[in-house]
């Protein structure tokens, strides 16, 4: 009977399993296969070149720069989003008039797609006639070329992505805060603990599941950042603000190097795996129950 029930439940997983196989496992296998070929992405002919594409990764300066950018987008965005998201959650967790409106306003940016957000920000940071420069001109400050350098562009992209996704973090932390039983805080207050100590000794440890979810989600989202970069900087100047995701797309569709693009895609997969799994393990090990 137990075995029968087990098979019954397993059979309900078949549709989800099929979706994972069709939309994740098969494309991944195909990408691995293509990475061993020289192919322009549309011809019916492919040429076997073995590990040559993987070897090119180590000599490709653009790959190196894109990987650095990807780490900045991943870790930088995660840091800003979680600090801002937690701060916002602590703020909107209190009772005050207009709390729901504030929550809505803080959450709204995430409802805009990344492509649209990049396009909007392009007209804010534009050198000539951009909103920000027009505001500075009112104070007698000349135009600033915000996206002149790769560093500047990467910083701006990280900030915009952090601001946009902060609302998502806020929701996760808000749910986490509201799940903490009030009795711990009340007991601590009775014992004469300060608010600061309550936050670091009680709230934060009990928020670890929420922190794990937020950090891992933000990290993977940051590593895969694509849409904002397309419309804001198009990877420029001179491909210096590219993320690995966008570089993969450019290699395939622009440069007609589908085999090399697949190899870079596998490299990104490995990088995300190597980074995300240990962080996930570490954060889960820090979860506590009182």
């Amino acid at each position: 009977m137990e075995k029968r029930r087990k098979w019954k439940y397993l059979s309900l997983c078949i549709p989800a399993f099929l979706l994972i196989v069709i939309f994740m496992i098969v494309p991944l296998g195909n990408a691995v296969k293509v990475s061993f070929y020289k192919w322009n992405g549309y011809s019916q002919k492919m040429k076997w070149i073995g590990l040559e594409n993987y070897g090119s990764i180590f000599t490709d300066k653009v790959f190196g720069r894109s990987m650095m950018n990807t780490f900045i987008y991943g870790f930088g965005s995660t840091l800003f989003q979680n600090i801002a998201g937690l701060s916002a959650a602590l703020f909107v967790n209190k009772q005050f008039k207009g709390r729901n409106l504030v929550r809505l306003i803080l959450y709204m940016p995430i409802m805009i797609s990344g492509v649209i957000m990049g396009a909007i920000q392009y007209y804010i940071f534009n050198y000539d006639n951009g909103v920000l420069n027009n505001l500075l001109n009112l104070f007698g400050i000349g135009n600033i070329y915000w996206m002149e350098s790769g560093i500047g562009s990467v910083f701006i992209i990280t900030l915009i992505n952090s601001w946009q996704a902060m609302g998502f973090c806020m929701l996760i932390y808000l749910a986490g805060l509201q799940n903490i039983p009030k009795m711990y805080e009340e007991a601590a207050l009775l014992d004469g603990t300060s608010r600061r100590q309550i936050f670091f000794k009680i709230d934060l440890p009990l928020l670890m599941p929420a922190i794990t979810t937020a950090v891992i989600t933000n990290l993977i989202g940051g590593f895969k950042l694509y849409d904002i970069i397309v419309t804001l900087t198009n990877g420029g100047p001179n491909r210096k603000s590219l993320s690995l995701s966008y570089y993969i797309s450019l290699l395939y569709f622009n440069d007609e190097k589908a085999g090399y693009s697949a190899a870079v895609g596998i490299a990104l997969f490995v990088i995300i795996f190597i980074v995300a799994v240990p962080i996930n393990q570490y954060l889960r090990s820090r979860e506590v129950e009182y």
């Binding site: 019954k8 989800a16 020289k38 000539d128 996206m147 002149e148 001179n238 440069d255 007609e256």
Partner: protein, 453 residues
């Protein structure tokens, strides 16, 4: 109890199966919705386009119940004009047309479909009918409209063996766009510009008058690719590297001359400070505000867009400059709205009937595109045609050729030039220029070898 378990199990299974079905069906449902919306939009918007010919000329046979799929990258008024032609064809023949509007993703999507050998019945070739899409296209040289295409079109789409693979309804004429208002205020006569030396002298006057001489942006390959024939390929050019370029032996050493010239634009302050990050939309906007004078190597759709933003701006076109006195003044001709038929389509007769219909009703498309006419049915003079004729009145010996990178470079080089433009914009030192040349050479060799396989 058992009944309850069965009910729960059945419900759970149905929910899971429904999830799979909805994921699978979501695509086709939206395609049909798009098709329906397109048809409605086409019928409503069609009245806005200029059509001097009788609507619905050249009605084809009855193909009731047949369906064809068409993919396009057109947008705006040109797309609306095309949809009107499609709607008229549908009403006359009973054919159902599914129109895929891929927009800016057109090239990427088509490459993916080519890889899986699953192409639409009809698709736009956007300048690549001979170099990229030929192996997937049907030969259309026997069609009635093929003999009616003018020389500007045939020079671009006809293969060396006389075959052609696309119906070119409009052509893109690429030269140097001129803002006549700015030139007038700066005291510059653009029609007197012959060589790049004359061009720089004009830029100097424009700069002294307080305008930005050149609006070229280095986020596009055009800055580095479109004018190259002036130095490398045409009559009276400084070099003649055509044969080496076409047989894959070109060493790119002569390209340094072009980079040295382009460096003068940076050194003399002829460009916008943010030319390394702006896009075409920014250049159009600034030209419409009468802030800049020239943009080198651009099609007539640019002038159309500028005048659409500000009808008071007077735009013109001059041919690409000669690299030395006596050299040919040329304009590049590219495929505008051009449609080919997938050679493995199951609806070849319907597709050919559709192209015949388009060839006889292309006036609206031509007017909306603002490009140059290629077929005799196009009786209304488009804005682009007007620019071209005005240019020819000042330069009767202007020479027309296919777009330089499409004729002399392997497929994929446009993307390489785009990267190289960014590299050059950032660093115009001798080392920077050598890096650009090395990058172009390496990719050219790679792509040429791939094209020969």
């Amino acid at each position: 109890m058992l009944k309850k378990k069965w009910a729960t199990t059945t419900m759970a299974f149905c929910l899971a199966a429904n999830t799979v079905l909805m994921a699978a069906c979501g695509g086709s449902a939206s395609t049909q919705e798009t098709k329906g919306a397109d048809q409605a939009e086409g019928n409503q918007e069609g009245t806005k386009t200029e059509q001097t010919g009788t609507q619905g000329q050249g009605a084809a046979s009855d193909f009731s119940g047949r369906t064809i799929e068409i993919a396009t990258y057109l947008s705006g008024d040109t797309l609306n004009a095309y949809k009107q032609v499609i709607a008229d064809f549908e009403s006359e023949t009973g054919v159902k047309v599914t129109l895929d509007e891929y927009g800016e993703d057109y090239e990427s999507t088509m490459k993916t479909r080519m890889a899986s050998n699953d192409l639409p019945d009809i698709f736009e070739t956007h300048g690549w009918s001979l170099i990229r899409y030929k192996e997937y296209l049907a030969d259309l040289s026997g069609e009635p409209w093929a003999s009616q295409l003018n020389k500007a079109a045939l020079g671009v789409i006809q293969d060396t063996d006389g075959k052609l693979y696309t119906l070119m309804t409009t052509g893109s004429c690429l030269g140097t766009a001129v803002n006549m208002n700015v030139c007038e205020k700066a005291g510059v006569d653009p029609w007197a510009i012959d060589t790049w030396e004359d061009f720089n002298a004009a830029c100097e006057k424009i700069k002294e008058a307080g305008f930005t001489p050149i609006a070229n942006y280095f986020t596009s390959a055009g800055a580095l690719a479109n004018a190259n024939g002036s130095w490398l390929s045409y009559e009276g050019a400084q070099f003649n590297d055509n044969e080496a370029m076409l047989n894959g032996t070109w060493d790119w050493a002569d390209f340094k001359t072009i980079l040295d010239y382009l460096q003068t634009w940076f050194d003399n302050g002829y460009l916008y400070a943010d030319c390394g990050t702006i896009k075409q939309a920014d250049a159009i906007e600034r030209c419409a505000r009468n802030e800049c004078a020239f943009i080198v190597g651009i099609g007539t759709s640019y002038q159309t867009a500028v005048t659409a933003q500000n009808p008071d701006v007077v735009m013109a076109m001059i041919p690409i400059c000669a690299s030395q006195k006596g050299g040919a003044r040329f304009c590049g001709i590219g495929e505008g709205a051009s449609f080919g038929i997938w050679k493995d389509t199951k609806e070849m007769d319907v597709c050919k009937a559709f192209l015949n219909y388009v060839s006889e009703n292309a006036d609206g498309i031509n007017s909306a595109a603002g490009e140059i006419s290629t077929l005799p049915c196009q009786t209304s003079k488009s804005y682009g045609m007007g620019l071209m004729e005005e240019m020819e009145s000042h330069y009767p010996n202007v020479f027309y050729d296919n777009l330089w990178d499409r004729k002399y470079m392997p497929s994929g080089m446009w993307g390489v030039f785009q990267v190289a433009a960014g590299m050059f914009c950032e660093d115009q030192s001798e080392e920077g220029k050598q890096e650009v040349i090395d990058y172009l050479r390496e990719n050219y060799t790679d792509l040429y070898e791939a094209s020969q396989e």
